[in-house]
C-alpha cells in the first residue's frame, strides 16, 4: 500500500450529502478484475452526459479541480455498497484525502486499505475550508501532526492511532495479522473442541 504523509492541493468541494458508492463508481465499472484504471469513471454519471462527453460544469472536469488531490464533501460520504472500487476510483483519479463531517462505515475502512486518508471535521469547519476551494487556494493536510493548514489557520483532526501508523508506514495488514498465526492456530484448535460443528467435519 502507498504511504500517506502529507498532501497539498487546491481542494475540490462537492456540497452534496449522502454521496453513495453508486455515485462514486456506477455498477458498469465493477466488472473489472483489476484495481486500477477506474479514475476516468469516478462520478461517471455526474461527470459525463449520455453520449460520454464531459459535462463542463461538474467540478472535477474543471481546472484546477481536475488535478485536486483533496475532496471536500457533504456528510455520510460513501454510503451504500461495500465496493472497494469507490476508493480505487478516487485514488486512480489522484484523490488521496477526503474531508467530510461523517462517513459510512465500510467506505471509511476501505480508504485506509488503499492509502487514502478520510478526515472528519465538523460542518462549520467544512464551510471554512471550502472557501479555499472556491478561491482556488491550496490547503495542506499533515497526518503526522493531525492538522489541516490553510492560509494562516489550521484545524486539528483526530484519527485512530493504529490506522494512522498503517497509513504513515504503508503497512500491509495481512502481513501484520499473519504474524499472529500461532494465536489463530490455537483459537482454531479450541474452536474445534468447543464448537465442532463450525468446521463441517
Amino acid at each position: 500500500m502507498q504511504k500517506f504523509n502529507k498532501v497539498k492541493s487546491i481542494p475540490a468541494y462537492l456540497p452534496i450529502v449522502n454521496i453513495d458508492t453508486d455515485m462514486l463508481i456506477p455498477k458498469q465499472f465493477l466488472k473489472t478484475i483489476k484495481r486500477t484504471g477506474l479514475g476516468k469513471n469516478l462520478f461517471h454519471e455526474m461527470r459525463y452526459d449520455e453520449k460520454g462527453i464531459e459535462i463542463d460544469q461538474f467540478i472535477l472536469n474543471k481546472a484546477p479541480y481536475n488535478k485536486s488531490k483533496i475532496l471536500i464533501a457533504g456528510k455520510n460520504f460513501g454510503c451504500g455498497s461495500s465496493r472497494e472500487h469507490a476508493p480505487w476510483a478516487l485514488l486512480d483519479f489522484g484523490i488521496t484525502c477526503v474531508i467530510s463531517s461523517s462517513y459510512a462505515d465500510i467506505f471509511y475502512n476501505n480508504c485506509f486499505k488503499n492509502g487514502i486518508l478520510p478526515i472528519v471535521i465538523d460542518e462549520e469547519q467544512i464551510k471554512q475550508i471550502s472557501e479555499y476551494s472556491l478561491r482556488k487556494e491550496e490547503i495542506e493536510v499533515d497526518l503526522v501532526n493531525e492538522k489541516i493548514k490553510f492560509g494562516n489557520n489550521e484545524i486539528g483532526f483526530e484519527i485512530d492511532p493504529f490506522k494512522k501508523k498503517c497509513l504513515l508506514e504503508g503497512l500491509d495488514d495481512i502481513a501484520l495479522s499473519l504474524e499472529k498465526t500461532d494465536k489463530i492456530l490455537s483459537f482454531e484448535k479450541k474452536l474445534k473442541d468447543s464448537k465442532p460443528w463450525i468446521f463441517n467435519d
Binding site: 455515485m23 465496493r83 462505515d105 495479522s177 464448537k195 463441517n200
Partner: protein, 467 residues
C-alpha cells in the same frame, strides 16, 4: 456484567486484542461472489498466500448472471470474464462454488441460509454490504471491502474495532397489508441513513419475535441502509426449526451441541445499550420511498414533501435535488405516481414468502397495460419451490416475466435495467440515483405493494386488493 448478544458474539471470536482496542476476530463463515473477489485472489497470488480455511468459504456468482435463458452462457464479455474468473479462482484455491447451472445458485444472502451455511452465533462476512441479512439468525454478519476479503481468505480473521450497541424495540401487531419491509423502511425513515453509523443494531420486541425467519431477514438486510455495521435478532425456535436438516447445518450429536450453544445467544437482562428506540407496530402503514435515499419514505396515503417546508438548507437542497432526479412535483399524492416497471426480487425480498405475498395479490388479476414487470427468484431452490406451488403460473398469467435467479435489477449489473426516466416500483433495497440504470427512478416497496402497483399502473395501497 450483563452482556448484549453482540457483546457475546464479539467476545467469543476474539483471537487477539491490542491495547487500543483494535481486535483480530475469527471469521466462521465467508461468502464470496464474482464482483468483489477477483482482486482479492489476485492479491493472494502475487504474495504467494493460500486460503487458510477453504471449508469455511462458499462462493456463488450472482451479481452478473443473466436472468434469461442461460443455455448460451453470458453474452456480455466483461460479465463472463468475472464469472469465469470466480470459477477459476475457486478451483485453484479449493473453494466450493455453486456454478451458474447449479440449481442451488442464487443470491449469496439467500443461499447462505438456504444451505444452513448461515448459523447462529457465527461471524459471517462477505464483500457485499447486504451481508447484514444473516443477522436474522443471531449471527454477527457484515459487509467488507475487497482488501478485507483478501485478509479473511489469507488469515480467516478480520481486524475490527468494536461498535456500540443500539437496540430497536418493535412491539404490537402489524396491521393487514403491512410487512417487515414497511417496518424497516419506517425505521430508516426515523433514524436516517447515518442513524446507525458506529453501531450494531439488535432488533427486539414482541413484533420482531412474531415474524417469520424470512421476514426477519428483510429487516436485517436493510440495516446497512441505516448505516449500522450489522443488524441482528436473538435466535429462537423458529430459527432452529428453519435450520434443521439443511444441507450444511450441524448433524446428529453436533446438532445437539450447537442447539445448546444457540440457546444461550440472547442479550442478558440489564445489559447496556448505548442507544435505544421504540416503535409501535400497530401504527406502521405500507410505505414507499419518493426520493433517492432509503430514508426518503412516506406512507402510501401520504404526499411527496415540499422543500419550501424545510428550514435546514442541506435538507432543502437534498429534497430539491431528489425531486428533480425523480421527476416529481412537491405535494403530489404517492398514489398519483405512475410507474413503468415493477421488479420483484433481490436479497431483500426474493425469498419464497415474498413471492407468495406478491402472488396472493396478483391471483386472477392482470397488470396494467403500460407496465413491464418481472419476478427474479432469489435462488434456484426458491424458483423450484415457487414452481411447485404454481406461483410462476400466477405471475405469468398476470403479465409478469418469470426469470432465472440472481441480483438482477436491484443493481442492474446484468442486462436487466431501467432506461433513463423510467420509473420502477421495486422490492429491492436502494433507490440511489442511477442504481437500477442511468436516469432510472426507483420507488422501494414491499412485494405486496409492488404487485399492487403493477395492477394499478401507479403506486397504490396493497390493502385495496386485500379486502
Amino acid at each position: 456484567m450483563p452482556l448484549t448478544l453482540y457483546d457475546k458474539i464479539w467476545n467469543d471470536h476474539l483471537v487477539h486484542q491490542q491495547e487500543d482496542g483494535t481486535s483480530l476476530l475469527f471469521v466462521d463463515r465467508h461468502l464470496i461472489h464474482e464482483v468483489t473477489s477477483p482482486q482479492a485472489f489476485e492479491g493472494l497470488r502475487s504474495s504467494n498466500r493460500k486460503v487458510r480455511q477453504p471449508n469455511l468459504t462458499l462462493a456463488v456468482a450472482d451479481h452478473n448472471v443473466p436472468t434469461t435463458d442461460r443455455t448460451k452462457g453470458i453474452s456480455d464479455e466483461e460479465s463472463k470474464l468475472q464469472v469465469d474468473t470466480l470459477e477459476k479462482n475457486c478451483k485453484e484455491f479449493g473453494i466450493k462454488l455453486f456454478g451458474m447451472d447449479d440449481k442451488r445458485q442464487g443470491i449469496v444472502h439467500i443461499i447462505g441460509p438456504e444451505q444452513g451455511f448461515t448459523q447462529p452465533g457465527t461471524i459471517i462476512v462477505c464483500g457485499d454490504s447486504h451481508t447484514a441479512t444473516h443477522g436474522a439468525f443471531g449471527s454477527l454478519a457484515f459487509g467488507i471491502g475487497t482488501s478485507e476479503v483478501e485478509h479473511v481468505l489469507a488469515t480467516q480473521t478480520l481486524v475490527q474495532k468494536k461498535s456500540k450497541n443500539f437496540r430497536i424495540n418493535v412491539n404490537g401487531k402489524l396491521p393487514l397489508g403491512v410487512t417487515s419491509k414497511d417496518v424497516i423502511l419506517q425505521i430508516i425513515g426515523k433514524i436516517g441513513t447515518a442513524g446507525g453509523t458506529g453501531y450494531v443494531i439488535e432488533y427486539a420486541g414482541d413484533l420482531i419475535s412474531s415474524l417469520t425467519v424470512e421476514n426477519r431477514m428483510t429487516i436485517c438486510n436493510m440495516t446497512i441502509e441505516g448505516g449500522a455495521r450489522a443488524g441482528l435478532i436473538q435466535p429462537d425456535e423458529k430459527v432452529f426449526e428453519y435450520l434443521k436438516n439443511k444441507p450444511m447445518s450441524p448433524k446428529n450429536e453436533n446438532w445437539d451441541k450447537a442447539l445448546e450453544y444457540w440457546e444461550t445467544l440472547k442479550s442478558d437482562h440489564g445489559s447496556k445499550f448505548d442507544k435505544e428506540i421504540n416503535l409501535e407496530g400497530n401504527d406502521i402503514k405500507p410505505m414507499v420511498t419518493w426520493g433517492t435515499s432509503p430514508q426518503d419514505v412516506i406512507t402510501i396515503d401520504g404526499k411527496v414533501p415540499n422543500p419550501k417546508n424545510e428550514k435546514d438548507p442541506d435538507k432543502k437542497n437534498s429534497i430539491e435535488r431528489s425531486l428533480k432526479y425523480m421527476g416529481l412535483n412537491p405535494d403530489i399524492n404517492a398514489k398519483d405516481i405512475k410507474i413503468d416497471k415493477v421488479f420483484i426480487g433481490s436479497c431483500t425480498n426474493g425469498r419464497i414468502e415474498d413471492l407468495r405475498e406478491a402472488a396472493e395479490i396478483l391471483k386472477d388479476k392482470k397488470i396494467a397495460n403500460h407496465v413491464d414487470a418481472m419476478v427474479v427468484p432469489g435462488s434456484g431452490l426458491v424458483k423450484q419451490q415457487a414452481e411447485q406451488e404454481g406461483l410462476d403460473k400466477i405471475f405469468i398469467n398476470s403479465g409478469f416475466e418469470w426469470r432465472e435467479p440472481g441480483c438482477s435489477m436491484c443493481l442492474a449489473m446484468n442486462a436487466d435495467k431501467l432506461k433513463p426516466g423510467e420509473r420502477c416500483a421495486s422490492t429491492s433495497n436502494r433507490n440511489f440515483e442511477g442504481r437500477q440504470g442511468r436516469g432510472g427512478r426507483t420507488h422501494l416497496v414491499s412485494p405486496g405493494m409492488a404487485a399492487a402497483a403493477a395492477i394499478s399502473g401507479n403506486l397504490d395501497d396493497v390493502r385495496k386488493y386485500q379486502i
